[in-house]
Symmetry: C3
Subunit: 300 residues, 3 copies
């Protein structure tokens, strides 16, 4: 709960996590790959950092579908903050260790049958995930090696570049309306910045999930490769981006994204209130229950 509480503050997480100690990396060899583990024993995210290249790989490993629970988001934000503070880390690849799925997005169990306080805390963590990733100084590449609906799609769109496995059984999109819920304005803004206004209007209203080839066609992903080449291609992409001087790339990135980020930063509290009052409605809770029961049946 200490980690969760930290999300309530604007100041950095790391400063409050002295028990985590330093990064724990040893500069022995430029090819040494150091694996981070947070103090938590059940880590939902594994970070491999290659000091020789300056590139970290985040493996999401939260079975079964890398749902964004409050614990997951907290761990994600702490990892981001560690990497961001490390001058040697210039690039980040996000991928999944789970089969067939990149991430299923927000964990519905954090919104169903929970107190308004809990829902608000959860939403603040979702905001924080997006803010940290969309404003990252690192080159960020999504290695989308499985389906990526809703919040999973958001995470991918929030990166600088998207490589997806060319498997027609995978899909990606902001499908919130299909569940009877609504993507907030900053999900929408991120999508408009990625695929333009018209495609966003139609796909957000219909909650469209796109096949990889459709996603490529509308610009929702940048590149398709065979499933077993997603990570290697992501590594090559990061290398290409890192050939650009960091300061020029970072200023340019900030110039492209600042307005969108400021919009949420200046209205976080109102956005949380808006989410809480929406999600705690009886009709919405009923929609979530029906969806959860449908999921149970499918798995049963």
């Amino acid at each position: 709960m200490a980690l969760r509480a930290a999300l309530r503050n604007k100041c950095g997480l790391l400063s409050q996590l002295s028990s985590c100690g330093s990064h724990g990396r040893v500069c022995v060899s430029p090819v040494l790959v150091t694996q981070w583990r947070n103090s938590s024993t059940s880590s939902k995210i594994k970070v491999d950092f290659d000091q020789s290249t300056g590139v970290a790989v985040m493996h999401m490993q939260s079975p079964p579908v890398n749902s964004f629970s409050l614990d997951f988001l907290t761990e994600f934000c702490i990892s981001m903050e560690k990497l961001e503070m490390d001058k040697g880390c210039r690039g980040l690849i996000i991928t999944s260790s789970q089969p067939k799925v990149f991430s299923a997005g927000l964990d519905i169990l954090e919104m169903y049958g929970k107190s308004p306080e809990h829902c608000g805390e959860f939403w603040k963590a979702v905001q924080e995930m997006w803010l940290k990733l969309y404003s990252s100084n690192m080159v960020t590449v999504a290695a989308i090696n499985g389906s990526s609906p809703a919040g999973g799609c958001l995470m991918a769109m929030t990166c600088d570049y998207r490589i997806m496995a060319d498997n027609p059984r995978f899909s990606i999109g902001l499908n919130e309306t299909q569940l009877g819920i609504v993507a907030p304005f900053w999900f929408k803004d991120t999508m408009v910045n990625t695929v333009g206004h018209r495609t966003t209007e139609i796909s957000l209203q219909l909650g469209t999930l796109y096949s990889p080839s459709e996603a490529l066609k509308i610009g929702l992903v940048d590149q398709l490769v065979p499933e077993d080449q997603v990570l290697t291609t992501a590594t090559q992409s990061v290398t290409k981006w890192l050939a650009i001087p960091d300061h020029a790339r970072q200023i340019t990135k900030s110039m492209m994204r600042k307005q969108t980020i400021d919009k949420l930063t200046s209205s976080r509290e109102a956005d949380i209130q808006n989410f809480v009052s929406f999600i705690t409605k009886d009709s919405i809770q009923k929609s979530l229950r029906m969806y959860l029961e449908m999921l149970k049946k499918r798995r049963g």
Copy 2:
């Protein structure tokens, strides 16, 4: 004139039209198709409402080319308001009963040789048409079964989805500059939201009319089908959109369009003044006269 006067008020039209009575539909059978007729004997718009599907079809039937006269626009707005207030009506298809044309757009006779007061009243009705359609809670589909220049194109762009007859003799676009007049900012905004900034810049300046295949390519329409399948395809599309929960779709639609709508709502009076002072200029009136004479010759 009572109907026209009603357009001057912000409050709903129906409240002032007690003589129109209720919708006049009888809930006898779910497959019953009820045809509405406004109190006016010479109806310019025929509305078929299918209670079993919740979908209404508006047939524009104002010979020869469904021009948006003040009477037409007044009738359109009243029909929209009726449908919007009917909880059972969730989808709307707009199509034409005239051969070869969807709509030729604004009726030039309402702007040529008319008083500033009349021009202002007319422009307010054009604004109202756009506001009602762009902010509609219904799923709106344009079944474009003929040419659709200027205001006709605007009406189509204002819907949620556009299906056009794949007939190379038909065309669609905002061709105002070719007539020496100018599309106002909210026509422009609607087009930018549909096809993006660059395509809008080039096509508005040149007043480009696109063939159906060109229109599909730039995203001005969403789908092409043979002429005799436009309406059935529109019906299938509406069905697909109505599978999404109304409240989630409506909130999402509003989020996508609110900013554009607010821009006109907050400057309607200035926009009217701007239009009136432009259209009543001698040079513009001369352009309109030349255009009308050209039309006469073409038909003669």
Copy 3:
């Protein structure tokens, strides 16, 4: 220096250049082609004006690569102002007299090892070039008959229409980050208006230079033709655009571009300060020196 000083003022340049005299064109014959030369003996821009068509052609002739030096920009702005004031001149084609290059963009020698005052004066001239071209009442067409990186790409994007030579050895793009510098917000805005947000984000960060066919695909240029047909095609394009009534086209163009122009106009001084403090940094000066040395070696 008088010309340069004039750039500091908001009022027109010509009013302060009485020594330049009138345009020096004689209305003898409608097919007469008059060549302008500015008072400067070493003209960097040659303007051919065809009174019969109302179209001027600007030939950039500043060896070796039409770099935008302060002198070049000053001459460009004066030429623009002359043409703009001439009611008979309705269209402008910009092209290069140098082989293989349209323009290499900003002259680095104006930013390297120069005083803050000089850098500020230079930047004001770059702003003025863009403001004059982006807000021009004339139809402006870029006849891109060679490579067009950085500021050269900006000049092309600032026109109404872009025709490029279909030679795979030519390239175009805003490649500033590759040099360790950053395109300012109005370069970015111009690119977003041309190719959209996502393509701008990726190409500005990577400093991508596109081949003509790639540039066509993303919408960075509008048309590709064989190298020897660039100018004739540009002439045909201007003719097509001039078929539209000037006043309607001009109002429409202003409507599309006003917001972007106002953004710079209302923050010119801050933008200059921002540029000066950035470009005079030791680290940036070092980047520029390395780039200049690389250029020397390449040519040597």
